[in-house]
């Protein structure tokens, strides 16, 4: 049985399914449901459950800080405030005094508050709603003895975690040595759990509707995080293929040197990063540099707008971790859908066609000035620093950014480039290339804007594809227009194994992918013959329909990966 969802973290995994109980509660697990205890006993049990939960949250936050960075830990630490919040604790105690079991009291109160916050327009408060359910569930888990934390800590063998939804603390608590894959019924590529899964290198499929209906604990499952498919009780040959794929990725030798195709064409493989820790990990995976450092994560996780000083320290730490390898910082890329503490962004009807990226930073000069100054300071201390601006739609914005730079950091020593994700800039690639040091194609957004399709929309999966003939033709036109100006690809198309020969065949020589994919991509590049794949890429450019592209991809796969 195949369940189709959204690929949230690339890679293949095979394992026995461990289903986590839903974010719902089994009241029967509470001994008091059958035999109510005294109010004093109930309150004592509640106190113990809260204390245990607090210890766990503190431990999860500490582990997260070590493993993925302080930004992720802060999200969990906020949950501690809820545990002794009078608005949560008070009603729970009142309900127990009125005769409710601790389980019923804690869960009903958590749900009530979560519903209330979840019904508000605000994306921030909706996130808090998930936190409150997370906290409530943890406390209830200790009361009923059905803790998800225990279910997660006692795993062995190769396991695929399945759930309706994974909470942030669930994901942070996963042991990457045991958990091979993740599949959930709901969730988006942008949900916190998905981002963490990518950081941890665990293949994940989200939005796999029907999982809890059709799959059972212990079922063998294959998770294909590239295609976004989870197969329950797969055929033996699929299992063999998936195991081979997973094993070859796991056993991949890290190649620290720059690799070339089999006929000697060098292709640089960079990694995407959002924190200095990401950069460190990317270097360990053998990345040739950082092709995209997303600065917005630092802003989103700070208590208030980070000033020039704080930013300079953070970017400096990232550049330091890169150890002399090229690193490209992207200036703040947020819009109405990505709240940043201290920066008011009006909610817009259509945030993806609204004030985001460079449009937003040019309208908030203080924020932009501080960031550019901090980046200029970083470039003064470290070699090989580049800066690019996102969401540019024409030369005018580049003129404006340059004017700002001239004003606030006239001596800035970084290379200056632009993202190519708005179709207008793809059309003007030649003109843009003449005025910048490099172009960086963001294939996800470019594809979405070209096809007017949101990749997160489950109903448009048939439409959203980087293999659309129009998308491939535009990629080719950007490369041709750019001439001798370097062009890199930093969207996730570079992370899709099927598209690698196509991109290299089209002529791209610099890719930026998620860190854990670097060894795999490097190994594959060494097996590519640029002449053969170039010929097929040419035929792809004549494709009229998606099916023509698929046919060419088949031909490519046969050429580069004879099975």
């Amino acid at each position: 049985m195949m369940l189709h969802g959204i690929g949230a973290s690339p890679g293949t995994a095979v394992g026995r399914l461990v289903l986590l109980g839903g974010i719902d509660v089994d009241m029967d697990g509470d001994p008091e449901t059958a035999a109510p205890g005294s109010v004093e006993d109930s309150l004592a049990r509640l106190t113990v459950a809260i204390a245990t939960s607090r210890e766990e949250i503190v431990a999860i936050a500490a582990a997260a800080r070590d493993r993925i960075g302080a930004e992720h830990a802060a999200i969990v630490e906020a949950q501690l405030l809820v545990l002794d919040d009078p608005e949560w604790y008070g009603p729970v105690v009142d309900a127990i005094r009125a005769g409710a079991t601790p389980t019923a009291a804690a869960w009903a109160t958590s749900q009530e508050i979560a519903d209330l916050l979840g019904s508000l327009e605000d994306p921030y408060l909706r996130e808090r709603s998930a936190d409150i359910l997370d906290v409530g569930q943890r406390v209830v888990g200790h009361l009923t003895g059905s803790s998800r934390a225990e279910a997660l800590s006692d795993l062995s063998g190769d396991v695929v975690i399945g759930a309706h939804e994974l909470t942030p603390t669930d994901t942070l608590g996963l042991d990457p040595d045991v958990v091979r894959g993740i599949v959930t019924e709901v969730g988006a590529r942008t949900s916190h759990a998905a981002i963490l899964a990518r950081q941890l290198g665990i293949p994940a499929v989200v939005g796999a509707t029907g999982l809890l209906e059709f799959a059972n604990n212990g079922n063998l499952v294959v998770v294909d995080g590239d295609a976004g498919v989870c197969t329950v009780n797969p055929e033996p040959d699929l299992v063999d293929r998936a195991r081979a794929d997973a094993a070859s990725r796991a056993g991949r030798v890290v190649l620290r040197q720059t690799v070339t195709t089999s006929d000697g064409i060098p292709v640089l493989v960079y990694a995407n990063a959002s924190s200095p820790q990401d950069v460190e990990r990317a270097v360990r995976w053998g990345a040739d540099g950082i092709g995209l450092f997303r600065t917005e994560f630092f802003f989103m996780q700070s208590q208030s707008l980070p000033d020039e000083e704080a930013q300079a320290a953070y970017y400096g730490a990232a550049a330091e971790a890169a150890g002399g390898r090229p690193i490209t910082f992207r200036t703040l890329d947020v819009g109405g859908d990505k709240p940043v503490p201290g920066l008011h962004v009006e909610a817009e009807e259509n945030p993806f066609l609204g004030v985001r990226g460079v449009r937003l930073t040019l309208a908030h000069r203080r924020v932009f000035d501080d960031q550019l100054r901090a980046l200029a300071r970083t470039a003064a201390r470290y070699a090989n620093v580049s800066v690019m601006v996102p969401m540019v739609s024409g030369l005018e914005e580049l003129d404006e950014v340059r004017a700002v730079l001239e004003e606030v950091a006239p001596a800035a020593a970084f290379r200056f480039g632009t993202m190519v994700e708005v179709p207008s800039v793809a059309v003007l690639a030649a003109e843009m290339a003449e005025e910048v040091d490099f172009l960086s194609v963001g294939t996800n957004d470019l594809t979405a804007y070209l096809l007017a399709a949101d990749r997160g929309n489950k109903h448009l999966h048939y439409l959203y594809t980087e293999f659309h003939p129009a998308v491939l033709r535009v990629l080719h036109q950007i490369l041709v227009g750019a001439g001798t100006t370097p062009v890199s690809v930093c969207g996730e198309v570079a992370g899709d194994p099927r598209s690698l020969p196509l991109l290299v065949g089209l002529g791209f020589r610099q890719l930026s992918v998620s860190g854990p994919l670097v060894p795999e991509i490097k190994a594959r590049i060494q097996r590519l013959d640029s002449v053969g794949i170039g010929r097929i890429a040419e035929s792809v450019l004549r494709a009229r329909r998606h099916a023509d592209v698929e046919a060419a991809l088949e031909e490519l796969s046969a050429l580069v990966e004879p099975r």
Binding site: L81, D85, L305, G342, R365
Partner: protein
């Protein structure tokens, strides 16, 4: 006895999740009871959930009231947080 003072929220983000967490942590360092009033609705400054539900956006006038042994210190500290200069357009 109690002390109180009104202030208009200038932070464009309002008293939003992360600023609110800071605000609550600060309030909890005082023994006094502290409330935040907006349009006749009162919130407990020591409860993050209470503050969040109040929905304090930019331009809202709120009143902080502190009552207890360290009321003046609590009032001053919380007002200072609310009035902290948020992001503003830099004059050229």
């Amino acid at each position: 006895m109690s002390v109180s003072s009104s202030v208009v929220i200038t932070d464009p983000l309002g008293l939003h999740a992360r600023p609110a967490a800071q605000f609550v942590e600060k309030a909890r360092t005082f023994a006094s009871d502290v409330t935040l009033d907006k349009d006749g609705t009162s919130a407990n400054c020591k409860s993050l959930l209470s503050i969040l539900k109040l929905g304090v956006t930019q331009g809202t006038e709120v009143t902080v009231t502190a009552s207890g042994d360290d009321e003046q210190g609590a009032l001053d500290a919380l007002l200072a947080l609310l009035q902290a200069e948020p992001e503003a357009e830099r004059s050229p």
